[in-house]
């Protein structure tokens, strides 16, 4: 029996069935984006709060567009204009948003666990749009949809994730998701960013130091951005990174012609990826963006649309009596 989702806080706690369900739900929305008139009335009258406490362009626009195409209104909170800058706590900010009665909240925050923290204190569905270095579940779902479309399955694929794994929430969500489908996951990047504890995240995860070995036989390559903003250690010289870990056409050949190249963006061409690979036939980066919309529409439809039939719940109010 498929358990209905209340929130989407991460991939780790989802079952394989729940993930497949979301991917299946996204299928009709993929088709929908090809229509000349891209507006549904499904969520008309609903409001989705977009609380982006950390700067974001593509994810915020993707969620906003997904909500708009479902007919929902959005309330926008952005990092730069946020009252957080004036010293307001996260809880006070989200309680203020909640008091305007949105039907769901999408949150991005630089603190790992912030979505779970507010989900325990609000009475509305919470969607994690990326929290610190923890998870970015919608990215993993859209990646899975992209791969499944091209490979027809996720089962048993050989997936290589390249780059700064330690600081990557995208990597964590992808590892959790793909591992649930029996994928063999290879992690490769500068050694200080690929600590051995990553192998304990999920079954079938291994680390490889040399990129040639990591790419050998890969069905899918996920290239991560080097996250300079999340790095507290002295950064690596770009030349060093390029020398050892840039995905070049020569290296891509080791993986074979059918290997897919994914990148969560924003991409730094010429650093982690050679421009000709980014624009090449194996690259899925634009599909990823389109599929992101479909995934986010499916989720909002499921989480926010579903709430309509349920009685208004009290936990959010209870949380304030403190």
């Amino acid at each position: 029996m498929l358990q209905r989702l209340q929130h989407l806080l991460g991939i780790e706690d989802l079952t394989r069935e729940q993930i497949s369900f979301i991917l299946d739900q996204a299928k009709p929305f993929q088709e929908f984006h090809r229509h000349p008139l891209k507006k549904l009335a499904t969520l008309r009258g609903k409001t989705v709060a977009l609380a982006f406490f950390e700067n974001s362009t593509r994810t915020r626009i993707s969620f906003a567009t997904a909500a708009a195409r479902l007919g929902a209104d959005t309330m926008n909170l952005q990092a730069e204009s946020s009252s957080l800058k004036k010293g307001e706590s996260l809880l006070d900010t989200v309680w203020t948003l909640e008091a305007m009665r949105p039907d769901g909240i999408v949150i991005r925050h630089s603190s790992s666990g912030a979505p779970e923290f507010i989900a325990q204190r609000l009475g509305i569905p919470v969607v994690n749009a990326g929290d610190g270095t923890h998870e970015h579940p919608t990215q993993a779902l859209l990646d899975a949809l992209t791969v499944r479309d091209r490979k027809n399955t996720l089962d048993g694929l050989h997936v290589t994730i390249l780059g700064d794994i330690l600081h990557s929430r995208v990597a964590r969500s992808n590892i959790h998701l793909l591992s649930k489908f029996g994928a063999h996951i290879t992690l490769c990047g500068p050694a200080m960013w690929v600590p051995r504890e990553l192998e304990s995240l999920a079954p079938n995860v291994r680390r490889v130091s040399h990129i040639d070995e990591a790419l050998d036989g890969a069905d899918v390559i996920i290239v991560l951005r080097v996250q300079t903003e999340r790095m507290h250690e002295p950064a690596l010289a770009p030349e060093e990174y390029i020398l050892q870990f840039q995905l070049t056409p020569e290296r891509l050949r080791l993986a074979g012609k059918d290997a897919l190249v994914l990148h969560p963006g924003p991409m730094i061409r010429g650093l982690e990826i050679d421009p000709s690979v980014a624009d090449g036939p194996q690259s899925c980066v634009l599909d990823q963006v389109t599929n992101g919309l479909a995934i986010r529409m499916a989720l909002l439809y499921h989480l926010v649309g579903g709430a309509a039939s349920e009685p208004a719940s009290g936990p959010g109010m209870a949380g304030k009596d403190k």
């Binding site: 706590s89 996260l90 790992s112 666990g113 330690l166 964590r172 504890e197 990553l198 304990s200």
Partner: protein, 421 residues
């Protein structure tokens, strides 16, 4: 006068374990013996209970002066009394920092006026605990400090530590260090390991602590001073302390109840699991329990660290470190150490009484003419800890709602019952 009857007296100083009565006259013990009688006395029937020397907590934060929103000497010592503590050592990281005699005197006076139990201040090792120059340690000693520490942070450099130790050796004061290599600590919020990787929280390696313990032990070989390691959490740190003890160096250490109870795998996105040092690995916890059993660890200390709910009810990485601990210390020691058979009841009493007393260079025993500081507890009393019922101003405990077996039944300070269950 107060007559405590029928209690099982456990006194590690004399290895006493016998049913004895204790007659208290004013602030001192008058007589200890079987079947004492006296007329016109208040009688406390301690039948079925343990009567121990008064518990000493070597490590707490009372937040006064300066952070009275989180705790005061009054509220903190009332919580301490409920935990069975008759004396608590207050760390100097108040505002202002207790780095001179006038702050020390203020704490001493305030404690005399409002404290439910004895407060023994610890002075800062360096001015403002900034790690630059020595504070007025001799003047603070005259005003009443029992040790020095820059707790909250380590004594900054080996060179300063050498000076502090040399100076304190002459003053016969122990130096307490919060051991942490700041460069390895590097902004971490929990112990580095599989759990920190899974949660995406910045990790602090165990070596951040043990490197500093190693440094401090080396400086002891240079100075011959008394060193006490605060809230020790790592197996490797314990190895340094063991080796130092074997060499005959005066190195002691304490372990907190949360470090012998919880581990890093218990951490969730709840700042009640955020403390410094962070919850360690299961292997470390096992090593600490072994040290508590074999005598390598000298004391259980709470590191009671109150933080107002509004400062703790935030994102994990933004919350301050620390939890409150007075009221759960004994019950956790009973449930995690005694009941599973790791240590005896007498050893538990030692870890709360004569152990910490030795660190401070004082005696603790139940005998005629000794101060009547006594802790009476039950090993069977079933109760549920609720932070909402605590006299503390703060609520930051991961043990809220936990059911315990074993509790303090009465806390007696200078002959007065300051807490009675």
């Amino acid at each position: 006068m107060l007559l405590i009857k029928n209690g099982r007296v456990l006194d590690p100083s004399s290895n006493t374990d016998a049913t004895l009565d204790i007659l208290v006259d004013g602030p001192r013990i008058l007589r200890v013996g079987p079947d004492l009688t006296a007329s016109h006395v208040e009688i406390f029937d301690a039948g079925g209970m343990i009567v121990a020397p008064g518990f000493i907590d070597l490590h707490c934060h009372l937040r006064e002066p300066g952070q009275e929103l989180s705790e005061t000497i009054e509220t903190g010592t009332r919580a301490a009394a409920r935990g069975g503590f008759t004396a608590v050592c207050a760390m100097p990281n108040t505002q202002p920092v207790n780095d001179n005699a006038s702050v020390t005197r203020g704490i001493v006076e305030r404690s005399a006026a409002a404290g439910a139990v004895r407060v023994w201040p610890i002075g800062a090792a360096s001015v403002g605990s900034k790690g630059e120059s020595l504070s007025e340690i001799a003047a603070m000693k005259e005003a009443g400090i029992v040790a020095v520490s820059d707790d909250g942070k380590p004594v900054a450099t080996a060179r300063l530590m050498r000076q502090v130790m040399d100076y304190c050796r002459a003053l016969d004061l122990p130096v307490i260090d919060h051991c942490e290599d700041r460069s390895l600590f590097a902004g971490g919020v929990m112990r580095e390991g599989p759990r920190s990787i899974r949660l995406g929280l910045r990790g602090i390696p165990a070596q951040s602590e043990s490197i500093c313990v190693g440094r401090d032990v080396e400086v002891v070989t240079l100075t011959g001073a008394r060193l006490h390691i605060a809230h020790m959490s790592a197996r490797a740190s314990l190895e340094y302390v063991r080796a130092a003890k074997q060499q005959g160096l005066q190195v002691t250490c304490e372990v907190t109840p949360h470090h012998f109870t919880l581990i890093d795998e218990d951490v969730r996105y709840d700042s009640h699991y955020k403390m410094n040092p962070p919850l360690a690995s299961g292997e470390d916890r096992a090593a600490l329990i072994e040290g508590l059993a074999d005598g390598s660890v000298d004391a259980i200390a709470t590191d009671h660290a109150p933080h107002h709910p509004s400062s703790k009810d935030v994102e994990f990485d933004r919350a301050p470190f620390g939890i409150i601990g007075f009221e759960t210390a004994l019950a956790l020691a009973l449930s995690e150490l005694v009941r599973p058979g790791k240590i005896s009841l007498l050893r538990l009493v030692e870890l709360f009484t004569t152990g910490p007393a030795r660190v401070l260079g004082i005696e603790r025993k139940i005998a005629a003419d000794e101060p009547a500081d006594l802790t009476i507890f039950s090993t069977d009393q079933v109760w549920t800890y609720r932070t909402s019922e605590s006299p503390s101003k703060s609520r930051n405990s991961p043990f809220d709602g936990r059911e315990f077996r074993g509790a303090p039944m009465a806390t007696i300070v200078a002959g007065k019952i300051v807490y009675r269950r």
